[in-house]
């Protein structure tokens, strides 16, 4: 089965190709079969690969399979090579598994939309690129996948391209991503210049032999530079400050797209990439600190914006940005396994939340404003209960998946020996956790509880989604509940022998970096850890209670608070006016520069001028030379004599010109 690893990304590619070429003429059911079937088969192959790996001894991973030489230019060689280790195996399972469920869901959700075959073609194409990204064995191939998922994101955000806001959102996503990709490309160049290769094995092998760089701005070396530039790419792809602005706008796309790309997988690509580059980051503590700081800040910042948003998908979008911040906080603290753990649990519950939100929107006939919802609990129970499971998970209530992953990150941030001011980052994360709990339960209460605030016409339309949509919801809800049990921390599960299964699974991947970063570990007591854990739970419950009070017990309270703190409320509602600031400070000057300067001056006057000028010179020269053709034979004779003189002088040049 391992020989068929290449099928995992190529099956969706085949699906995408088939649908792209002939999809228009196929029946909707055939399109569904091809689209979902290719994703399902890919998942099946991934399971087979996992089974095959399980039977092999532990030393057989990492496995490198090279298929062909893609680029060869001088000393620059890039092979098409897949790297299979525990990390990439986990990623392909998550991507194909969650992806498959979302494909199934889309059969129901997109059934009455136009462009059905186009949707599945793009979705399959996305799967191909994402799988290529996680299986890549060198940075060049990873970058191909990186760019490819960006392209598919653009195509899918702008799926309803006849709507200007959707088309604009697609452009915005692509362009903001590009800014991060610029940093990523610089990292690749620097990497090649330093190591002479982009291959994972080569680069990490050479980097491992280099000394750990000092964590001071003036003294950091090339590894820090590479790591920071790689992270800048992750900032764009995974929507961290300051390049997160595209993600909320990306909600213009169909909800399954938001679930797959902007919650579970594509935005996680940045996290995966940083985790994959752990060797480089471990040698650059300064970069790790930056990663953690940016993650923590983003987690807090996005949570504050999510407090007051009124579109159900917007709230989830900011929540995604916030949770991605958590993942980077974990990575920055040196707990790479914890960050990936949260990536996995987040894929489960965030995809679930988005799909359930899509179910709500579907029931509400397209309405997305939560102020116009309410009291849907009884009418769409399956949606309600699955949504609630997701909310419990994301809020980090004990036993659910989010609890284990989030707590692991917070504890690692607090106790990491390599992270300066770890307690401060922990504090930010904990406050953000409380805010997360609050705004998620606010969402639940406003959407499903309380009084119905929608019109009677909509009331007729409200109906539960078909089984093809609720099935995936149920599956994801199950995963959101039990998915965290593979990562029960030592404090809780040691006696039962099920501690840290997840971390042990990924240990071979990260062992070298963990050794470096835990070198000066101070022993922390179990009670410390339990204490912090309890504090987090308490704060999560507090958030729940406050939300309950504001939105169920005493709805007026929320409005009064908004009135009292008018200015801060407006600031949050306006998302800190970041989009407006970007537009005024960057976009408009750039526009002006492009139009007035580069186009009218440089392009028209200089480039066109030079070009036309050459042509004009040639023409005038020709006009001048043709005067030689006077038609008078005697003149021609004169010129012949001149020519004869020249030729004679040439042949006798040694004599004539001493």
């Amino acid at each position: 089965m391992l020989d068929y690893l290449w099928l995992v990304p190529l099956l969706p590619l085949a699906g995408a190709f088939l649908l792209g070429v002939v999809g228009r003429r196929l029946a909707q059911s055939t399109v569904s079969l091809i689209g979902v079937g290719s994703a399902g088969l890919s998942f099946g192959v991934s399971l087979g690969v996992a089974a095959a790996v399980a039977e092999m001894p532990a030393e057989s991973l990492p496995m490198v399979k090279s298929y062909f030489t893609w680029l060869a230019a001088g000393s620059f060689r890039v092979e098409a090579v897949f790297l299979l280790d525990q990390l990439s195996l986990l990623m392909i399972l998550v991507v194909t598994g969650v992806g498959f469920l979302i494909h199934v869901y889309s059969i129901g959700y997109m059934a009455h939309e136009g462009g059905y075959y186009r949707f599945f073609a793009y979705l399959n194409l996305f799967m191909f690129f994402m799988l290529l990204l996680v299986l890549a064995g060198n940075y060049a191939l990873l970058f191909v996948g990186w760019e490819g998922v960006g392209l598919c994101s653009y195509l899918l955000i702008g799926f309803y391209f006849l709507r200007k806001s959707a088309a604009d959102a697609g452009k915005k996503a692509f362009i903001v991503n590009r800014i991060g990709d610029f940093g990523f490309t610089l990292a690749l160049l620097l990497m090649f210049w330093t190591f002479g290769s982009l291959d994972f094995t080569t680069v990490f092998g050479r980097a491992a032999g280099m000394p750990v760089e000092p964590a001071a701005w003036g003294q950091a070396g090339v590894l820090t530079a590479i790591s920071l530039l790689l992270f800048s790419g992750a900032v764009g792809k995974s929507a961290q400050i300051p390049l997160y602005v595209w993600l909320p706008d990306a909600m213009e796309g169909p909800t399954p797209v938001s679930a797959l790309i902007h919650a579970a997988t594509m935005v996680a690509a940045g996290v995966y990439m940083v985790a994959r580059s752990h060797v480089l980051f471990a040698h650059a503590p300064l970069a790790l600190t930056v990663v953690a700081a940016v993650g923590c800040l983003t987690a807090f910042y996005a949570a504050t914006i999510g407090l007051v948003q009124t579109d159900i998908k917007r709230v989830l979008a900011y929540s995604t940005v916030s949770q991605l911040g958590y993942m980077f906080l974990g990575l920055g603290a040196g707990a790479f396994a914890a960050g990936i753990f949260h990536l996995m649990t987040h894929a489960f519950f965030k995809a679930l939340l988005f799909l359930a939100a899509g179910s709500v929107i579907h029931a509400m006939n397209g309405e997305q404003d939560i102020r116009k919802m309410g009291d849907l609990r009884g009418k769409i129970p399956a949606t309600y209960w699955t949504f609630l499971m997701g909310t419990l998970a994301i809020a980090g209530l004990p036993g659910f998946s989010g609890f284990f992953s989030k707590d692991e990150i917070l504890w690692q941030a607090f106790s990491s020996p390599s992270l300066p001011l770890g307690w401060l980052l922990w504090l930010g994360g904990v406050v953000a956790a409380m805010l997360t709990s609050f705004y998620m339960f606010r969402l639940v209460f406003l959407t499903f509880h309380g009084q119905a605030r929608y019109t009677p016409e909509t009331a007729h339309h409200v109906h539960e989604s078909p089984r093809v949509m609720t099935g995936p919801l149920a599956a994801l809800a199950l995963l959101s509940v039990i998915g965290g049990w593979v990562g029960i921390p030592a404090v809780l599960g040691e006696r039962a022998g099920i501690a840290n299964l997840f971390e042990h699974f990924l240990e071979p991947v990260f062992s070298s970096s963990t050794a470096i970063l835990r070198a000066d570990a101070i022993a922390h007591s179990h009670s410390e850890e339990l204490g912090l854990m309890g504090l987090t739970v308490l704060l999560a419950l507090a958030g729940l209670t406050v939300a309950y009070t504001f939105y169920l017990r005493n709805p007026e309270l929320a409005r009064q608070l908004a009135e009292t703190f008018r200015r801060p409320y407006q600031l949050l509602l306006g998302k800190y006016y970041v989009d407006e600031i970007y537009s005024a400070a960057i976009i408009r000057p750039l526009h002006w520069l492009s139009e007035r300067v580069f186009w009218q001056e440089v392009d028209v006057k200089v480039v066109d001028g030079a070009f036309n000028g050459v042509a004009a010179r040639a023409r005038s020269f020709g006009l001048w030379v043709r005067l030689l053709q006077s038609g008078n034979t005697r003149s021609y004779g004169a010129w012949v004599v001149v020519g004869a003189l020249v030729i004679l002088s040439y042949f006798a040049r040694d004599y004539v010109f001493r």
Binding site: A638, W639, Y655
Partner: protein, 166 residues
């Protein structure tokens, strides 16, 4: 002064005078007759250089056929005296000075590469018909055949061009 030198100067002078006359005369027929004189003088000079065959050819073909053709054409076209037009500034202001330059350069080259001590002596005369004929049919056979083709083409061309109606 030895006889060859005198003969040289006589015939050389005749050649130069004929050439001058060709340039200075206004009526083409006078120029043609001057040219015949030049060719005759040159034939004599060839004999002084020992080129018997060439001298004979010169008289028979050049002076005897080509120049006759020229005279016929002049008579046929009833060419009169030249008009005094001058529409070419290039010829007068560029051509003449440059021609002078050309001559000067040739003269200079001769001066620089003056063949010292080379004299024309009768014992070293080449140019009998036999050896030339042999060369023509052995080493220069191909050019020889080609020139015959050339003459054929010239004949055809001349006939076609000068016909009254094609």
């Amino acid at each position: 002064m030895p006889a060859e030198t005198v003969l040289f100067f006589v015939f050389g002078g005749l050649a130069v005078l004929g050439a001058l006359n060709l340039v200075l005369q206004r009526h083409p027929i006078h120029s043609a007759l001057s040219l015949i004189l030049v060719m005759a003088a040159l034939a004599a000079l060839y004999l002084l250089l020992g080129a018997e065959f060439i001298a004979a050819i010169q008289v028979i073909v050049y002076a005897g056929a080509i120049m006759v053709l020229f005279v016929f054409v002049i008579m046929l076209l009833n060419a009169g005296e030249e008009e005094r037009t001058s529409m070419s500034r290039a010829a007068r202001y560029v051509g003449l000075p440059v021609a002078g330059l050309l001559l000067a350069e040739v003269g200079y080259l001769l001066y620089r590469a003056w063949p010292e001590g080379a004299v024309v002596e009768a014992d070293k005369f080449l140019g009998r018909t036999g050896p030339i004929g042999r060369l023509l049919f052995t080493d220069f056979a191909l050019p020889f055949e080609l020139t015959s083709v050339l003459i054929l083409i010239a004949v055809l061309g001349a006939v076609v061009l000068a016909k009254k109606e094609l």
